[in-house]
């Protein structure tokens, strides 16, 4: 069972290599291979879910192999309560994303490269989520940048070069700071305990100097500086306003499949990093800065929503909506309370589901009308009822209607953060109203009204079998999680509670009993 973790990570990478070495005339095989391999990974994830024991707190299915022993760096993978929702989600989403964009991907070598690079991104994402070693985490974190960079640069929209550059600069700058911080942490660990270890569980026990009464000067203490190093990487990737400048153009310019992956999976690497590394490793700094960060997150909700309202480009509007919704996740995380962080973790998956569905629909609309201008659509509900229905489900999830998954996460986040800090919560709750404004606006402009000027020329065929399959799966997840969220929350309950305890001022440091097995 433990080997499944490695297989999940390396199978997509191997398949990517195989696809790249396909001869030119066989490049049509790329897509089927991509679907089959990612579906296989999804099956692995489901098997792991089956045998995952939510009652156990700590790592399960652990793999630990020495890699660079002099620095205490191991190849250390495990499932735990924090990463299992995201691992499941990533593994299940990838085949759906392939199927959903089947009709959108170009032919020939483009198809070949795109499929291979997306599989590489899956490797990077799953690796990031599963790593229990901080250096390994960093390696996977960086690996994913390369395919993302290539995909946007090669297959993006007209403005792709500027966009790629911006995306690269932001994410890479964040990563560099994180690398420095990681080096520091490993060094401190060796200096303080005598044995080198890069295991995140070990690093959690380091007490870095932090004077929380110093306010601003706390930032200049050791813990403050290292905190900033990690925060730079995670906040850029999530992103937290005002570090979001790369997002609108990147999401708009990237091809649909890549946008889905960026918005649904990559942004979760940032929020997951906050949950797994940033907050538990630097509990004092986390507690000191949490109120500020809550305000920033709440501001981000409103900021993204207001900008989404005024967009005229469909894809950019959804991109800003994503910014707004990710800020809910951040708000929940910074509340440092069990239900807030559980809500945030659930919201990571929820946002991924909804945003994947939304960008898929945008992709289909773009393909059919060759335009992303909101005013060029209209009246599609009549000609494409299935498309309209599936978009409606995603819209409802986005506006957090009770009964959909979006409500569970957002409400838990709001209740928890209100208890901690009422001010930012009230600001954040206005996002409920603003979110409905832009989402219904998008829905109305595309689906209702008379057929748009462009719409008259284009023949709007309804969804095909593959698209129906994808949207049914996503919609089932939206309603399923919305109605009965407890079974998903149960998976991470123990780990979240342990994390919160660790962050809290008097929290005892958790011991993590693990069974080590060989690779």
């Amino acid at each position: 069972m433990n080997q499944l973790l490695s297989w999940m990570i390396f199978l997509p990478a191997l398949a990517a290599l195989a696809i790249l070495s396909l001869p030119q005339q066989k490049s049509a095989w790329a897509r089927p291979i991509g679907v089959v391999v990612s579906a296989l990974v999804a099956v692995f994830a489901l098997l792991l879910w089956q045998s995952f024991d939510p009652a156990v707190q700590g790592a399960q299915f652990l793999i630990k192999q020495p890699w660079l022993p002099e620095f205490g760096i191991h190849f250390e993978l495990a499932l735990d309560g924090l990463n299992i929702p995201l691992v499941l989600f990533t593994a299940l989403l990838t085949p759906l994303a392939f199927l959903g964009t089947w009709s959108l991907q170009a032919e020939g070598s483009v198809q070949k490269r795109m499929t291979a690079l997306i599989l590489l991104m899956e490797t990077g994402a799953l690796g990031t989520f599963l790593s229990q070693d901080i250096f390994l985490f960093y390696v996977f974190w960086e690996i994913i940048l390369i395919p993302a960079y290539l995909l946007i640069g090669m297959y993006g929209g007209a403005d792709r070069l500027k966009t790629t550059l911006q995306f690269f600069l932001y994410t890479f700058a964040g990563s560099l700071l994180m690398l420095v911080a990681i080096g520091w942490m490993i060094w401190v660990q060796k200096a303080s305990t005598g044995t080198a270890s890069a295991s995140i569980a070990d690093l959690q026990n380091i007490q870095l100097n932090f004077d929380s009464s110093a306010g601003l000067w706390g930032l200049m203490s050791v813990q403050g500086l290292v905190f900033v190093g990690f925060a730079a990487a995670f906040f850029v990737k999530s992103p937290l306003v005002p570090l979001h400048a790369w997002l609108p153009s990147t999401y708009t310019q990237a091809p649909t499949l890549v946008t889905i992956y960026l918005a649904a999976v990559l942004s979760k690497m940032g929020t997951y990093g906050i949950l797994k590394i940033l907050l538990p490793l630097f509990p004092d700094a986390a507690r000191a800065f949490a109120p500020t960060l809550m305000w920033l997150a709440a501001f981000g909700i409103v900021y993204g929503a207001v900008l989404a309202i005024v967009q005229k480009n469909l894809k950019t509007a959804i991109a800003y909506s994503s910014l707004s919704h990710v800020s809910y996740i951040l708000l929940g995380l910074f509340s440092l309370s069990p239900s807030g962080m559980s809500g945030a973790l659930l919201q990571m998956v929820n946002h991924g589901i909804a945003i994947a569905g939304l960008f898929l629909v945008v992709g289909w609309l773009e393909k059919k009308s060759d335009s992303l201008d909101l005013s060029s659509f209209g009246g599609l509900a009549k000609s494409t009822p299935l498309l309209a229905t599936s978009l409606m489900v995603m819209v409802l999830s986005s506006v957090a209607l009770p009964g959909t998954n979006g409500f569970v996460g957002e409400f838990m986040v709001l209740v928890a953060s209100f208890r901690v800090h009422a001010g930012p919560t009230i600001l954040a709750a206005t996002g409920m109203v603003l979110g409905a404004v832009y989402m219904l606006n998008v829905y109305q402009k595309t689906m209702f009204g008379a057929a748009g000027a462009e719409g008259l020329k284009v023949s709007w065929s309804d969804l095909g079998a593959k698209e129906i399959l994808v949207m049914v799966a996503l919609s089932a997840a939206v309603v399923g999680i919305g109605v009965a969220p407890q079974s998903y929350l149960e998976l991470s309950k123990k780990s979240i509670e342990a994390t919160v305890k660790h962050i809290s001022p008097e929290g005892p440091k958790p011991e993590q009993p693990v069974q080590v097995s060989n690779f």
Binding site: L401, M412, F418
Partner: protein, 641 residues
């Protein structure tokens, strides 16, 4: 009286409409492969079946309550169960929710039956019936839940159904606009609901009504006032009170059965239900309740005046609904929750009747809604005419019709309640007077006189007139469920059946009979004479001309006090203005071009690698770090002052 009993009845009441939705919304279209191949009769039959079955179960529940159980309780499942947040779906059928459930399923069934006829010419009516069933499910969830959170589930879900049904004919942009407006205005109210739940949960750690009832104490007055204001705000949106009433008249864009069911009989009364349910909280915040009473009184007057100047038959009824909801809020504000529920019930009877009658008129006139083009329809539509006449008598409060008893209950409370005053009483009387005028105007323009635009119409089929007849009986006789004690004594009738029924769950209004100015009979006489004056005045005033004699006032009322325009100027336009400004300056110029400003942009085209060369990147990374530090710096300074 025994304690609450575990029973599955509440669950069945809830699930049957959901089954209807699942069949019409998913199973049936899949079976016949496509919405366009579905048959309206099949869809309508299944939808009606689901509702009637639900009604029968609700009746059974009512009988069990009548035979002694305090409440029927069904634990369904634990929705979320975290260490610091835990809520479950539990259904609770007590005497208050039983009344609501009977109204929803009973009137719901009638409106479903009516819809079979009304929607018979519509292609793919399956969508309509699916939404209608879903609405009933959501509304039942709202009233049956034993905690605020699942009430909120229903609260938002009825809003969604309202959205879907208002935009049912979505090809018209105006309908889609109306639907969006309804959803958004409701969302503004729901913002208050969510914050109220946050406050209550943070303080008490529960959202269950029963637990809140035992935990809420008058000590933390400021906190309770906050919660009460937020909940009132939510109710203002859902129940179309001033100043959030603007969505309801636009919502008439939906098919008429929708207006009858959602925008008259059930959904818009959710706010009243919430007050009755949370009375233990509101009773501790008298200041808020005075505001509620005045809001209700103002809304009743505003709605009544605007209704005078409308020419669309459904718009008149819509503003009439706004006005009647104002009456209910007036009652709740005064602490007369039982009177509010009583009026809620009679209003559900007569307003559903009036809307369905209007639908029958529209159906007969092939979609014409402008009353200026009608007239003289009484001959062509005899059943519709007679039933609407009865409904009109009820809404005007003519003696012995249902509205007579319920409205007089409220007017009596306005002068006799400790929070009441002569000003509120006068406002209530004024609104009742206006009701008589606009109702006569409606009857006159539609049924009486000569046909003005050559529309002669034809009577609707029996499937539409049958519900009209049933509702006419209810609207006529429903008032006898709440005969005031003085009247009951005088005529030997059973007095105040409804009030006795509700006593265990909703407190009765306490009146000290020594201090009141007018007795119940006195109030009735005054109200009825005002109604008759209104009828006479309306009959004379709109004899030849249907416009108001006063030009400026007429324009103000026709323009609905220009509240829409004020909102647009105050909220909508500034929002877009700020958004555009930020998009152009901060986002467009500054953030998007950060790279260019670093001196990276000039050479990048086709020369990315050079741009990424070490020097520039480090500068960039440094600036990023500096920027981040600055943000943390500023905010830290802020939080630590």
């Amino acid at each position: 009286m025994s304690d609450s009993v575990n029973s599955n009845l509440p669950l069945w009441i809830l699930l049957l409409p959901l089954c209807g939705f699942v069949f019409n919304g998913i199973v049936y279209p899949c079976l016949v492969r496509g919405v366009s191949r579905t048959k309206n009769t099949v869809a309508g039959f299944v939808a009606v079946l689901a509702m009637v079955a639900s009604f029968i179960v609700a009746c059974q529940g009512f009988r069990e309550l009548a035979s002694g159980s305090a409440a029927l309780h069904a634990q369904v499942y634990q929705w979320v169960d975290m260490s610091d947040f835990s809520v479950g779906l539990n259904l609770h059928l007590d005497r208050l929710s039983a009344i609501m459930a009977l109204i929803i399923t009973g009137i719901g069934s009638l409106i479903h039956i009516y819809s079979i006829g009304y929607m018979s010419h519509e292609p793919a009516g399956v969508r309509f019936f699916a939404y209608l069933n879903l609405f009933c499910f959501a509304m039942l969830l709202l009233v049956l839940s034993d905690n605020l959170l699942f009430t909120f589930f229903g609260w938002e879900a009825v809003g969604l159904c309202s959205y879907l049904l208002i935009s049912y004919w979505y090809s018209e942009s105006a309908n889609a606009d109306a639907a969006r407006k309804a959803f958004l205005v409701n969302r503004v109210g729901d913002f208050g609901f969510v914050l109220a739940m946050c406050m209550l949960y943070a303080k008490f750690g529960t959202l269950s009504y029963a637990q809140l009832l035992t935990m809420i104490s008058p000590e933390s007055a400021a906190f309770l006032t906050g919660v009460a204001v937020l909940l009132f705000f939510a109710a203002t949106g859902k129940s179309a009170q001033f100043p959030l009433y603007v969505w309801l008249p636009d919502a008439m864009a939906g098919p008429t059965p929708v207006s009858a069911l959602i925008h008259a009989a059930t959904m818009v009364t959710a706010g009243v239900y919430l007050f009755a349910r949370m009375h233990f909280l509101f009773e501790l915040t008298p200041a808020v309740m005075t505001v509620v009473a005045w809001t209700g009184a103002i809304t009743a007057l505003l709605g009544g005046t605007i209704a005078l100047a409308q020419n669309d038959i459904k718009k008149v009824l819509a503003y009439s609904t706004v006005s009647q909801l104002g009456f209910m809020f007036l009652a709740t504000g005064l602490g007369a929750y039982q009177a509010a529920v009583f009026h809620l019930m009679t209003h559900a009877f007569f307003k559903a009747l009036l809307f369905l009658g209007a639908g029958s008129v529209i159906h007969a006139c092939d979609g014409e809604q402008d009353m200026r083009n009608m007239g003289g329809l009484q001959k062509a539509l005899p059943i519709t005419y007679v039933t609407m006449l009865l409904g009109s008598a009820a809404i005007m409060g003519l003696p012995l019709f249902s509205g007579f008893f319920s409205k007089d209950d409220i007017l009596f409370a306005a002068e006799a309640s400790p929070r009441g005053s002569m000003a509120l009483f006068a406002a209530g009387l004024g609104a009742a007077f206006l009701t008589a005028i606009y109702t006569i105007r409606l009857l006159k323009m539609t049924f009486w006189g000569k046909a003005r635009a050559g529309i002669h119409g034809h009577e609707s089929p029996w499937i539409m007139t049958f519900p009209l007849l049933v509702l006419a009986v209810l609207a006529t006789l429903g008032g006898f469920l709440g005969v005031p004690h003085e009247w009951a004594h005088a005529f030997g009738l059973p007095g105040n059946l409804l009030s006795d029924w509700l006593n265990p769950v909703v407190p009765a209004l306490i009146v000290s009979h020594s201090e009141i100015a007018l007795s119940e009979i006195g109030v009735s006489v005054l109200a009825v004479s005002l109604s008759f004056i209104g009828i006479f005045l309306g009959y004379v005033m709109f004899n030849t001309n249907f416009n108001l004699p006063w030009k400026a006032l007429g324009r103000l009322w026709e323009g609905k006090y220009f509240v829409d325009e004020i909102y647009s100027a105050l909220f909508v336009k500034p929002l877009y203005w700020i958004g555009d400004l930020v998009a152009r300056t901060l986002e467009g110029r500054l953030l998007q071009n950060l790279g260019t400003w670093m001196g990276l942009g000039s050479t990048w085209s086709g020369d990315r690698l050079r741009a990424l060369q070490a020097g520039d990147l480090q500068v960039f990374a440094l600036i990023l770090l500096a920027g981040l530090s600055l943000v943390v710096f500023i905010s830290l300074f802020w939080t630590h002052v």
